[in-house]
């Protein structure tokens, strides 16, 4: 085989150059988080910290206004609740849409698909007014309840459920398994790989969400991490080293976990081609 060996070296050089660009913001942020305030105000800036210090992290962890533990809990609650809700509704209705015909099922399915075209900016105003009526402003459930049904998830699961053999379901019925039991014990195990992908994508979306939490959560103690990060950054415009350390503490740990699970996330995107 010839392969494209002849131009490999230039390929590597360009890719490595690009790697520097891709990594630069992370590296620059991490390095800045170890600099002193005096060094960060220096112009031109230093690249490598001259007086390597952990003070910025100490300041953040000891800051009584920045209850990182609480905000991590808020974000984790919202992300996990959304993952559970989305996985439940997506698998259940994916199964129902793939394997049952009921009056209007096709129209209903197309309606759900069509809602994917509606930008968040359209539904956020009435969505906010609905939450006001339900008394869910400044309540973390306000970030969960409106997102219980995920059009993309239902679409994904319907596609996967179609490949489950009907004979398998029929056999279970002959054995006298209840319908919910069939969903739980036969359909769900078949969907495991798809659930891993959908669960990760849902977690990532909710963990990083900014616009909707910004509208729903106005009380400091209820806020999720991305809003806290902008709040902290605005509090410390002259202490960039603190903001950078906060970014490391808020963005990087979960980013690291996502990076480990990247294979599944990438698979989900290439599988569906949907962002």
């Amino acid at each position: 085989m010839i392969r494209l060996r002849s131009f490999r070296l230039p390929s590597y050089l360009v890719l490595i150059a690009f790697s520097f660009v891709a990594a630069a913001p992370f590296v620059w942020t991490i390095l800045a988080s170890f600099k002193t305030g005096a060094e960060i105000r220096q112009s031109p800036p230093t690249f490598w910290p001259e007086n390597f210090t952990f003070d910025n992290y100490r300041t953040i962890l000891e800051d009584p206004d920045l209850k990182l533990g609480l905000f991590y809990r808020n974000s984790a609650f919202v992300a996990f609740a959304n993952v559970f809700a989305t996985l439940f509704t997506s698998t259940l209705f994916g199964y129902i849409f793939a394997k049952f015909d009921f009056k209007g099922s096709k129209k209903f399915f197309w309606y759900i698909l069509a809602t994917m075209m509606v930008p968040a900016q359209v539904t956020m105003i009435p969505g906010y007014l609905i939450l006001v009526k339900l008394g869910l402003l400044n309540n973390l459930w306000g970030l969960v309840l409106p997102a219980f049904v995920d059009a993309f998830g239902i679409f994904l699961m319907t596609q996967f459920c179609k490949s489950i053999p009907n004979d398998l379901l029929a056999a279970a019925r002959v054995d006298g398994a209840s319908e919910f039991r069939i969903y739980r014990s036969i359909v769900l195990p078949q969907l495991r790989p798809a659930m891993a992908t959908l669960g990760l994508l849902t977690f990532m979306t909710n963990w990083n969400a900014y616009l909707w939490p910004l509208i729903v959560l106005t009380e400091q103690d209820k806020r999720t991490l991305p809003i806290i990060l902008t709040w902290y950054s605005n509090q410390n415009t002259n202490q960039v080293q603190l903001t950078m350390a906060a970014s490391v503490l808020i963005v990087m740990p979960v980013l690291f976990l996502f990076a480990l699970a990247q294979r599944w996330i990438v698979r989900g995107i290439t599988l569906t081609g949907i962002k």
């Binding site: 890719l15 800036p45 049952f100 359209v122 309840l145």
Partner: protein, 348 residues
């Protein structure tokens, strides 16, 4: 499958097709297997329909309705959804105002025009720039050793996984005038101290496009590249090796291979990726809100930011809803183009 299920013979009534596709009438009252299936579907779909009515249908209809009212959540208004009363019906006035291009137009109208222009510029710049980077990058990654491909791909995909707020803050610091990395690098290259206020100097423009918009654009490109990259890598893996080899045997240079073989074969994927990229570019909010807050002088007030500020900062929800309908129409047209592209089958 349990062992017993394989030993029991299937009778004709439970053959796969019949079990799966049920008759649609009166079956809720059936006893036995079919009745159980109907009850299961009915029992699950009913709450779903009710839920969708409140959290999906209602918001869409409500948003459309709002766009015909002068509405603020601060006023009491009429009995139905707070419309009417102190929140009067204004017909198509909100949409008429959008067509007022005169200098005397109200502030929100002029801001809308500016936002629409900014968002169109942004979206139409993002797509070609994104493709110009991701396509060559994808085929470069495909050209290196198999072991190294995931390494580069994962690195370039990392920004996609990063929170947009984090991206905005990191890039905000890189672009900082006195202490930023970019100005430091430019100063090094030019050999003299260069201070450019990338995100805050309203007088800086390139070809009539504000530099602050380019600042957000760079951060957005950096974050968003990974998506199209993996889509193109997947598509490239679908290109038959024999086609590439044939071209190489015929003496094609790498560039010609890319230009005359790879690009034409990837055309359907490229079209689809372009539309998807454009749809998301129209809805970018986080980067604009955190990096520039729409400034300087509203130069980076994207449509989504305009809607947010009108609705939640200035409490002009009727007007904001009307602007969101415009955004919806743009996205709708693009989505229809996308579904056309998806439907047409391509082969090579």
């Amino acid at each position: 499958m349990t062992p017993s299920s394989t030993t029991k013979p299937l009778d004709t009534e439970t053959s796969s097709e019949e079990v799966a596709k049920l008759p649609t009438k009166r079956s809720l009252f059936l006893t036995g297997r079919q009745g159980a299936e109907r009850r299961f579907v009915f029992g699950m779909v009913t709450p779903m329909v009710l839920y969708m009515a409140v959290f999906s249908v209602l918001p869409i209809i409500w948003a459309l309705a709002l766009s015909f009212f002068d509405y603020s959540a601060r006023r009491t208004g009429g009995p139905i959804l707070g419309l009417g009363g102190e929140n009067p019906f204004v017909g198509v006035e909100n949409f008429q105002k959008m067509a007022d291009f005169s200098q005397e137009a109200p502030l929100e109208v002029r801001q809308f025009h500016l936002s629409l222009r900014t968002t169109l510029l942004f979206a139409f710049l993002v797509v070609p720039l994104n493709l110009a980077i991701t396509l060559p990058l994808a085929s470069l990654i495909e050209s290196v050793h198999q072991r190294m491909r995931p390494v580069f791909r994962n690195l370039f995909f990392l920004p996609v996984l990063t929170s947009a707020v984090g991206v905005a803050i990191m890039w905000g610091f890189i672009l900082s005038p006195q202490r930023g990395l970019l100005n430091a690098l430019i100063s090094k290259v030019l050999g003299e101290t260069t201070i450019i206020a990338w995100t805050s100097d309203p007088s800086l423009t390139v070809l009539g496009i504000p530099v602050s918009l380019f600042a957000v654009l760079i951060a957005y490109l950096w974050q968003d590249l990974g998506y199209n990259l993996i889509i193109f890598i997947a598509a490239l893996q679908g290109v038959p090796q024999s086609v590439k080899e044939a071209a190489l045997i015929d003496g094609a240079k790498p560039w010609h291979l890319f230009r005359h073989v790879t690009i034409p074969l990837l055309r359907p994927t490229i079209m689809l990726a372009s539309v998807l990229t454009m749809i998301s570019a129209f809805q970018v909010f986080d980067l604009f809100q955190v990096m520039t807050r729409g400034g300087p002088n509203d130069q980076t007030r994207a449509l989504s930011l305009d809607i947010y500020e009108s609705a939640f900062r200035f409490q002009r929800m009727g007007w904001a809803a009307a602007v969101s309908v415009v955004l919806f129409l743009i996205v709708l047209v693009l989505s229809l183009v996308q579904s056309r592209l998806l439907r047409s089958d391509w082969e090579y």
